[in-house]
């Protein structure tokens, strides 16, 4: 998953600090992961951490969230693989995202125990994820026969939002049940998008 323009994937010391902070959170949770703890884990001085993350703990934690979100969706992409058919691509993407989401032990633990600390930075990074997924879907939609009045950008945006919404909150749809994801994607989401 290529990073958006202007945002480089972290490398070198910056990456080491992020990985160290992630390890601290995995071990001790969010509240107990201080800047000092991350510095110690990364084997750098506290001042070094501040140089890379002048906004302090909040900025570091935001960077950790963004980094892990990127890894998460890179994994989803690998799961989906290459699928030429748009409906199947969306269906597989939804299921892969949902499966990885429920199986992400650290994420589930943090949502159960420290949601108020995790949700705000996640919500902050979501629009970026939406935009990337929306652009990907819009590009694929332009190769499909669409219903009259359908704008691939608007449709891609809506479908990206619904995919992420269902990934995090299944609601009344049991996506594990056979055929449910297929029904949601083809009979509900795409009924207004793809020409028959």
């Amino acid at each position: 998953m290529t990073p958006p323009d202007g945002v480089e994937a972290p490398s070198g010391t910056r990456l080491r600090i992020i990985e160290a902070a992630y390890a601290c959170v995995a071990r001790d949770g969010i509240a107990k992961t201080t800047l000092e703890a991350a510095a110690q884990e990364a084997n750098v001085a506290r001042a070094t951490v501040y140089r890379y993350f002048p906004g302090g703990r909040d900025e570091l934690f935001g960077a950790v969230v963004a980094w892990e979100v990127e890894r998460f969706f890179a994994g989803v992409r690998v799961d989906v693989g290459d699928v030429p058919d748009f409906a199947t691509y969306l269906e597989r993407g939804l299921l892969a995202a949902r499966r990885r989401f429920t199986e992400h032990t650290l994420l589930q633990d943090l949502l159960a125990g420290e949601a108020e600390m995790l949700v705000p930075p996640l919500v902050e990074v979501m629009p970026l994820v939406v935009n990337l997924l929306a652009a990907d879907l819009a590009l694929r939609l332009k190769r499909e026969r669409l219903r009259p009045g359908v704008d691939p950008e608007v449709a891609g945006d809506l479908l990206a939002r619904m995919t992420l919404s269902h990934m995090g909150t299944p609601g009344v749809w049991d996506l594990d049940a056979p055929g449910e994801a297929r029904r949601l994607v083809r009979e509900w989401w795409l009924a207004g998008v793809l020409a028959d």
Partner: protein, 208 residues
């Protein structure tokens, strides 16, 4: 701890509130909209409501957190009552969805408390609209739309349709897009007509 909320409960709580409860709720909304939850004291609320602390305690006993929880229920009830009235006036299914989505989005994006909390105390509000807790919020909102959708859809389509509309309200309220502007009902009508109605129209046709 408050029991699981129901739409009927929330509506009743609002519609049956007396004058003093209204005053307390409005005062609390004004205070939180200005200073947020942490910085709003019971003294602030009493002053804004034009009451003594003693009177405030009588109207809303149990301390600050309990008062805020009660005011949240009251406010949600008030917003639901508005949406309920709006939906009752709707015509066909597309109209129900358009009005419901437009009114809800407008409320969410302009409510002073929601704006203040999202901006300054996101940890107090965002968890209610994400992941597991969102599931509960979706269920409650779907319950509000149910009788209005039941006029137009077969039984097994009501809950998914209501939930779809609720997800649309939430995503475009939290993360705005040029294509869906709650202050432009026409943009919502277009979204509903193009992307939502085709699936629902098929379900209407298929119904026995």
């Amino acid at each position: 701890m408050t029991p699981t909320v129901s739409v009927d409960g929330l509506l009743a709580g609002y519609r049956q509130a007396d004058e003093q409860q209204h005053r307390v709720a409005e005062a609390t909304v004004r205070c939180i909209g200005t200073w947020g939850i942490a910085k709003t004291s019971l003294d602030d609320i009493a002053r804004a409501a034009g009451m003594s602390r003693a009177t405030l305690y009588r109207v809303a006993p149990g301390g600050k957190e309990r008062l805020i929880a009660a005011v949240v229920c009251f406010e949600v009830g008030r917003c639901f009552a508005r949406i309920d009235d709006e939906l009752a006036a709707a015509g066909d299914l597309a109209d129900v969805l358009t009005r419901g989505i437009t009114t809800s989005m407008r409320m969410v994006t302009t409510h002073p408390v929601i704006k203040a909390l999202v901006e300054h105390e996101p940890d107090r509000i965002l968890p209610h609209f994400a992941f597991d807790q969102l599931g509960r919020s979706l269920a409650v909102t779907s319950e509000l739309a149910r009788p209005h959708l039941a006029r137009h859809l077969p039984e097994d389509a009501i809950a998914p349709a209501a939930e779809w509309a609720a997800r649309i309200v939430l995503t475009y309220s939290i993360n705005p897009s040029a294509s869906v502007d709650p202050h432009d009902p026409e943009s919502v009508r277009r979204l509903v007509a193009t992307y939502v109605m085709p699936a629902l129209a098929r379900l209407q046709e298929a119904a026995p």
